[in-house]
């Protein structure tokens, strides 16, 4: 019985350690992601290498699937499984290209993580500042972090000076669908064209 108890105790300690080692605070997670991106942007890489590294960071830290479905808004409900699968695939390619090309233009951005605010069990907003340079003013950036799984935090939105990139994308997608008689195929075509250009 004593042996069982010892094994149980060890197991408990071991599991607790695992849980501690894998769960991470949202602000630390954002700072770590930002540092990885800054290392990539400040490092001596070719543009292609830089883009590939940024894509890898995005795949690890961003909830691309969640953002994709959010961006569809109410149109998501009218789609069949095949359409959703096709959309998910083209959106992923579009997002990674858009994300990496947006960031690749910046060299060595300095971002300071300032604070965090827990909205509920699923979301925490992390506040940060992109430090001013000679060519642009200081920019406030908020990160919407999806915290449902504390061991796998994911970024769902960037809010720059109070303006949500996810919402902007959602309204852009909605505009494309609405101006094509509500057809998702038009959006899918646009996403494919963007990725292949």
């Amino acid at each position: 019985m004593k042996k069982f108890f010892t094994i149980f105790l060890f197991s408990l300690l071991f599991l607790t350690n695992i849980s501690y080692s894998f769960s991470i605070e949202p602000d630390v997670f954002v700072q770590s992601t930002v540092s990885k991106a800054a290392e990539t942007l400040g490092g001596k890489f070719t543009k292609e290498e830089r883009v590939e590294k940024l894509k890898k960071i995005a795949e690890e830290a961003v909830d691309i699937r969640g953002i994709g479905f959010y961006s569809l808004g109410s149109h998501r409900k009218g789609l069949n499984k095949d359409q959703l699968n096709t959309y998910e695939k083209v959106f992923r390619e579009y997002f990674l290209k858009s994300f990496s090309s947006r960031l690749a233009e910046y060299s060595n951005p300095e971002i300071e993580v300032n604070s965090k605010k827990k909205l509920n069990e699923n979301y925490t907003i992390v506040s940060s500042t992109l430090v001013a340079t000679d060519t642009r003013p200081e920019v406030k950036i908020e990160w919407r972090v999806y915290t449902k799984n504390p061991e796998k935090l994911l970024i769902r939105d960037l809010i720059i000076e109070g303006l949500s990139l996810a919402r902007t994308q959602k309204e852009e997608f909605s505009s494309i669908i609405n101006s094509n008689d509500g057809k998702i195929e038009a959006l899918i075509q646009n996403l494919s064209d963007f990725s292949s250009n």
Partner: protein
């Protein structure tokens, strides 16, 4: 004052009319305060005007902004500070109209200090003295704060994105609402001329464009429908400013995210 009152009445009528129908909605928020969707009633015309503005930007504003950005940083900061200082003159009456007398007092103090010790506003001495961060207010925001809806989305030639309410708000500046306009254009004072007013307006536009050169270019390159992206950003920005909130969660709708699970 009578003219401003008339404008308020017209704005109220127009904004009520503008909500008829439901085509081309842009949903902004459903959270804290239920915000009405902003309709793009004149979308084909707006898109044409947007294309015209993009052409003007490419030929005139962007090149000028690029040259402006070559100026030494202290010159640009001083210019930006002086423009902000002049805009305080229109912010103060808006603070009062919104019932925020404390901010009106703070901004009056800021204007007096920066105009005198800060040499016509070139140096932001008030900030160094610990004044809170300056928040610009305009008549469009005041109309919004009074509960008047935005009406339809508009794209104005040269001036860019707006709404019916914000356009009417801008007109209030030229019918007595902006003291800087009153002493330069509206009244024949011996100290200032029309050129002073329009010069500061143009400089303010160039300063804004220069500050956003990279972000605009980035947005344009990465947008499939640039017009829709700009519309969304403008309307989000106005919503935030009218709510006088820096707290992003107050102007965002979380329910849209709730049902999205990740694998």
């Amino acid at each position: 004052m009578k003219k401003i009152f008339k404008l308020l009445i017209v704005a109220l009528i127009l904004s009520n009319n503008a909500f008829a129908g439901s085509d081309g909605e842009v949903e902004l928020s459903k959270k804290a305060k239920p915000v009405q969707p902003v309709k793009d009633c004149f979308e084909p015309l707006n898109r044409a005007t947007f294309a015209l503005n993009q052409g003007l930007d490419k030929v005139i504003f962007k090149p000028v902004a690029k040259i402006y950005r070559v100026l030494p940083s202290p010159v640009r900061t001083g210019t930006s500070n002086a423009i902000d200082n002049l805009s305080t003159l229109a912010t103060i009456p808006n603070n009062i109209l919104q019932g925020d007398l404390k901010k009106a007092g703070v901004n009056t103090g800021r204007f007096v200090i920066n105009t005198t010790f800060g040499i016509v506003g070139i140096f932001d001495v008030a900030q160094l003295m610990g004044f809170p961060e300056y928040e610009k207010e305009d008549y469009g925001q005041t109309l919004g704060a009074l509960g008047i809806g935005p009406g339809c989305y508009l794209v104005l030639p040269v001036l860019g994105p707006s709404t019916v309410r914000d356009t009417i708000g801008s007109l209030a500046n030229v019918v007595g609402g902006d003291p800087w306009y009153n002493v330069t254009v509206a009244n024949d004072t011996q100290y200032f001329s029309d050129f002073d007013y329009w010069g500061t307006r143009v400089t303010a536009g160039i300063d804004f464009r220069a500050k956003n050169l990279d972000s605009f270019e980035n947005l344009e390159q990465n947008s499939m429908d640039f017009y829709a992206s700009v519309r969304s950003l403008y309307l989000q920005d106005r919503q935030k400013k009218i709510a006088n909130s820096n707290n992003v969660t107050e102007t965002m709708d979380d329910s849209d995210w709730e049902e999205i699970e990740t694998k």
